[in-house]
Symmetry: C2
């Protein structure tokens, strides 16, 4: 119960931790996907919606607002009727894509290995 337990763990995450702060926002179902879609250029709400076929309007709206809030995305509203809203990456958003694309490349390269691992796990633990 005392601090002694903690001595052996030198890397407890501090609570205002930049990594966690960023990853908690980015690391959700949709953010990475939306950023990747927006790499193709300025897009309207419904275009993004159709690009990511299985996102709900609510989550798209919410996630875009968060990405805007964090400075990854710029939202431009053209007050026409029906309204037109365009989303595009900011410089920050674009710079984020650099490390992220490496991650995506890794995902592509290692997808087979992951699928195989799943298969083996299933064989070993499937009959539990």
């Amino acid at each position: 119960m005392s601090q002694e337990n903690l001595v052996s763990i030198p890397f407890v995450f501090e609570q205002p931790c930049p990594i966690r702060d960023v990853l908690d926002r980015i690391g959700d179902q949709w953010s990475l996907l939306i950023l990747q879609v927006l790499e193709h250029g300025t897009m309207r709400f419904s275009e993004i919606e159709r690009a990511i076929t299985d996102i709900s309007k609510q989550m798209l709206s919410k996630t875009l607002r968060r990405l805007e809030e964090d400075g990854f995305v710029r939202r431009t509203l053209y007050p026409e009727v029906p309204p037109r809203v365009e989303y595009e990456l900011t410089d920050l958003g674009r710079s984020f894509l650099v490390p992220m694309k490496r991650l995506i490349a890794w995902a592509n390269e290692n997808h087979r290995a992951i699928c195989e691992a799943r298969g083996e796990y299933g064989v070993k633990n499937g009959g539990r």
Copy 2:
């Protein structure tokens, strides 16, 4: 409703999409954090638990099992009493850390910019 809508969107995500398949698993609240913690070497369940102070046992257990299933992590059970279980990264897991560490570095470098963006957003939209 016909295909014509889709013509203008050349990059709809296919459903068995490697990127999505990998990111959907990795991109959750905890996976990235756990992988990063395990970079420090083999660790026991409770050590990971204490490193990530605010994860629930259930989620730790569940996430570790998924990481094991996908081949990122190896689990070794020593059938003692009380039981000892050790987790360590596999080669796949370690190779994933390469692109991931770039992402973490980006997070560290740009955390300030993100916080500033949040501040500005708050000023502009806080009094809504």
